[in-house]
């Protein structure tokens, strides 16, 4: 009888412990991942900004052998970014004037914890094709938390070492996670040859679920060189913005 009481008591204590550990995991997932990821991503943004300003600083002198081949397309310099490396900053005025997140190459679990991920194999920002990105809607700093507040015409600014690339939001769709056609070179037209520069953003839908994907399509609006600067109108926070 005493042994039975001990067994039942121990099982009860184990179950209570397990329950407390599960609650702890929920707290970690919903709260702590945001705390650490927001801190890390802010540091990454500072590092990127420093790197970009430094790169823009010493300008190359006039070439002694001028020719069209001597000046390759500066947008093409983003080719072959190593997996997991941050190469751009995304700014979305609708998400707040101070909103800035790093864009990294790759969309695995680890990379998405560090910012917005770029689907490997899709176009780089500003180029013809589809610059496809993924971001967390909740947890890990949730860069795309307010993706559902984006409206047609909203600007999305991608800042690279050499350029500001401005996209304008066109439309959104909600699809099941197997709809890879949303990141096709021409979104939702797999196999079609692209003639325009698109940007796709994907995030989970609804919030706190992985059931569906909330997908926003944007089209290239303007490209500005870093030297020329970005007109303030493209960073104006729209009326009724969440940020």
């Amino acid at each position: 009888m005493k042994a039975l009481r001990w067994v039942v008591g121990t099982i009860g204590e184990l179950l209570i412990t397990l329950g407390v550990l599960l609650l702890l995991f929920v707290a970690w997932q919903l709260w702590w991942t945001d705390v650490t990821a927001n801190r890390e991503q802010a540091v990454a943004i500072q590092a990127l900004e420093r790197g970009f300003t430094h790169a823009a600083g010493p300008r190359p002198g006039p070439s002694t052998t001028p020719g069209p081949a001597a000046t390759p397309d500066p947008l093409a310099t983003l080719k072959n970014v190593p997996f997991g490396e941050a190469f751009a900053i995304v700014r979305i005025p609708r998400f707040g004037a101070g909103y800035a997140r790093p864009v990294l190459q790759g969309t695995d679990h680890e990379t998405l914890g560090k910012g917005v991920g770029h689907y490997v194999g899709t176009a780089m920002p500003g180029l013809v094709g589809n610059f496809a990105t993924a971001g967390h809607r909740t947890t890990y700093g949730k860069p795309y938390a307010d993706i559902d507040t984006l409206r047609a015409g909203d600007f999305i600014v991608i800042e690279t070492k050499t350029h500001y690339i401005v996209y304008a939001v066109q439309r959104h769709v909600i699809v099941s996670p197997d709809h890879v056609d949303v990141i096709a070179p021409v979104p939702q037209h797999p196999g079609a040859t692209p003639t325009q520069a698109w940007m796709t953003m994907t995030a989970c839908n609804p919030k706190y679920s992985a059931q569906q994907r909330y997908v926003v399509f944007s089209k290239l609006k303007r490209i500005f060189t870093r030297a020329g600067g970005l007109p303030a109108s493209f960073m104006a926070v729209p009326a009724g913005a969440v940020g």
């Binding site: 121990t10 702890l24 702590w32 969309t107 680890e110 689907y119 490997v120 994907t202 992985a210």
Partner: protein, 64 residues
């Protein structure tokens, strides 16, 4: 389980209570910094990109 642990802790009850708190804090830190980050990628709700049928390394995926 916790009864024997309590008896194992040295000192009078305030000391035991203090040591229990430290042990609990240790478990929480261990979970937050090591256990949870390790098991998080295995959770279905963290599987968050767009993907085709077979989960191969070059499969494209979408995030939540």
């Amino acid at each position: 389980m916790y009864g024997p642990l309590w008896r194992l802790l040295p000192g009078r009850w305030p000391v035991k209570a203090f040591l229990s708190l430290i042990l609990t804090a240790g478990v929480v830190v261990l979970c937050f910094l090591w256990v949870f980050p390790t098991i998080a990628p295995l959770m279905p709700f963290n599987d968050n990109t767009i993907q085709t049928g077979s989960p191969s390394p070059d499969t494209t995926t979408m995030a939540p």
